[in-house]
C-alpha cells in the first residue's frame, strides 16, 4: 500500500485553496534498470476530488507527471470544517483515498 497523501485545504474569501502532495513512483515506462530491462510504466491515471459528495475536480494523468506529484487547485463554495476527499487510481489498479478538513486562512 502506498503512503498517505498530504492534503491542505484553506478557505480564503469564497474560494478553497487545495494543495495535495501524493507519494507515487510515476514510472514512465521509458526507463531501463541496471540489467537493461525496461521498467514497466506505473503512474497515476485518474485523480478526483470531491466536496460533500460533489466532484470538484476530475483529472486524467499520464506518465509525464513527476514523481511524488504536487497538485494545487481552487474551487468555490466550501465551508470551514467540511471535508475535501481526494482519490487517485494508477494504471496497475492501485488506489488511495485521503481527506482533509477545510481550515480558515491564517
Amino acid at each position: 500500500m502506498s503512503d498517505p497523501m498530504r492534503i491542505r485545504a484553506q478557505l480564503s474569501g469564497s474560494t478553497v485553496d487545495v494543495r495535495v502532495l501524493m507519494a507515487h513512483e510515476m514510472e514512465t515506462g521509458q526507463r531501463r534498470d541496471a540489467s537493461g530491462k525496461t521498467v514497466p510504466a506505473w503512474f497515476i491515471q485518474n485523480v478526483t476530488a470531491t466536496y460533500n459528495g460533489k466532484t470538484v475536480l476530475s483529472a486524467q494523468w499520464g506518465p509525464a507527471v513527476s514523481k511524488n506529484p504536487f497538485l494545487s487547485f481552487r474551487f468555490s463554495g466550501g465551508k470551514v470544517g467540511d471535508k475535501v476527499v481526494v482519490t487517485w487510481v494508477d494504471n496497475k489498479g492501485g488506489k488511495r483515498t485521503d481527506e482533509a478538513a477545510i481550515t480558515a486562512a491564517a
Binding site: D3, P4, R6, R19, L21, A23, E25, E27, V39, S66, K67, N68, F70, S72
Partner: protein, 303 residues
C-alpha cells in the same frame, strides 16, 4: 533587446560611478577631514563598468535560480518523508518490538524538538561523538534490538529501497526547524572530532588530488545551477548546513547529510565513505559547528 542591454550597461556604469564617488568621498572625509578632491574619482571609473557588468549578470542569474527554488518550495515532497518518519518513530519494530520514543538524541529520552540543532555531540552511553544518523543506529540497536548491520544496511533510498533511516532523519530534523544551530565543543572528544573533521576537509587526495576545500573554499562559484558554498566562511557555511537534508527533485528522494558527504566523496573519487563512520561524523562535526548561530531550516528542496 539591444537597447535594453545598452541601458543596463549605462545604469551599471552610473551605479558604479556613484558608488565609487561615495566611497572616495567617505574615505577622504574619514582619513583627513579635508574635502574630497575630484581627481581620484575619474581614474578608476574606466575599469569599473566591466566588473560591474559581470557582477550584475551573475547576480541576475542567481536571482533567477532563487525564483526557481521558491517556485519549487511549495509542496515540498519532503513532507511525505516527515510523515512516514513520524509513524516509524512511534511504531513498535525490531526483535524487541519497541518504538524509538525513548531514544535519547542528546536532550533526554524522547526529546526530539530542537535536538538536531545540537548534533553531533558526545554521548556517554556509547563513549562516542555521534551525529543524527549514527545516534539513530545506536537507538535502533539498543532499544529495538536490531544488529548494527541491520540498522545501517542500505541507508540511501531508491525506487526499490525505502529505508526507515531517511524518513526518521526527515522527522527528527523537521522538529528543529527555526531553531538556532548550537553545536557544543566542550567534551575533549567533541574537540577531537572537530579537529579530525577540519583535517579531512582540507586533506587532498585521490586520483584528482581533490579536497573538500577545492570546491568549498572560494566565494561565488557554481557547478551549473548549484552553488558551491564557501564553507570556510560563517554565513555561507550556515546557509549550506541548515538546508540539509533536502528533497532532490532530480532523484525523487530525500537525502540526508550522511548522503551529502557520501556523494561528495564519490565526486572527489575518494574511497567510499562508510555510513556513520568516525570520519563522516568528524566531518559533520566540523561543518555543523561552523554553522553555529544559523537558523535551521530543513528538510528543504533542491533541484
Amino acid at each position: 533587446m539591444r537597447s535594453e542591454r545598452i541601458l543596463t550597461c549605462i545604469t551599471a556604469t552610473t551605479a558604479a560611478l556613484v558608488l565609487l564617488g561615495m566611497s572616495a568621498l567617505a574615505q577622504a572625509q574619514s582619513s583627513s577631514g579635508a574635502p574630497a578632491k575630484p581627481a581620484p574619482k575619474a581614474a578608476p571609473a574606466k575599469a569599473a563598468p566591466v566588473k560591474a557588468e559581470a557582477t550584475r549578470s551573475s547576480n541576475a542569474t542567481v536571482r533567477e535560480i532563487e525564483k526557481y527554488r521558491e517556485a519549487l518550495a511549495d509542496g515540498n515532497p519532503a513532507d511525505l518523508w516527515e510523515a512516514r518518519g513520524e509513524d516509524l518513530w512511534k511504531q513498535k519494530r525490531g526483535p524487541k518490538m519497541a518504538s524509538l520514543e525513548q531514544c535519547d538524541l542528546g536532550l533526554g529520552p524522547g526529546k526530539v524538538k530542537g535536538a538536531y540543532a545540537q548534533l553531533p555531540r558526545y554521548f556517554e552511553d556509547t563513549d562516542k561523538v555521534e551525529d543524527l544518523e549514527s545516534r539513530l543506529v545506536t537507538c535502533m540497536v539498543m532499544l529495538q534490538g536490531f544488529t548494527y548491520d541491520q540498522a545501517k544496511r542500505a541507508p540511501f533510498g531508491s525506487p526499490d529501497n525505502k529505508p526507515a533511516m531517511e524518513a526518521l532523519v526527515a522527522y527528527v530534523t523537521a522538529n528543529s526547524r527555526g531553531v538556532k544551530m548550537n553545536v557544543g565543543m566542550k567534551h575533549p572528544k567533541e574537540k577531537e572530532a572537530y579537529e579530525i573533521g577540519k583535517r579531512l576537509f582540507f586533506h587532498r587526495g585521490g586520483p584528482h588530488d581533490f579536497s573538500c576545500a577545492t570546491c568549498h573554499a572560494q566565494d561565488d562559484i557554481r557547478i551549473r545551477l548549484q552553488d558551491l558554498p564557501n564553507l570556510t566562511k560563517k554565513e555561507p557555511a550556515q546557509r549550506a548546513y541548515t538546508a540539509w537534508p533536502a528533497y532532490r527533485v532530480s532523484q525523487g528522494e530525500l537525502r540526508s547529510f550522511q548522503w551529502r558527504l557520501f556523494d561528495c566523496f564519490r565526486q572527489q573519487r575518494f574511497p567510499e565513505l562508510e555510513f556513520t563512520s568516525q570520519g563522516s561524523v568528524a566531518l559533520t562535526m566540523f561543518l555543523a559547528h561552523n554553522a553555529n548561530g544559523g537558523t535551521y531550516n530543513a528538510p528543504s528542496i533542491k533541484r
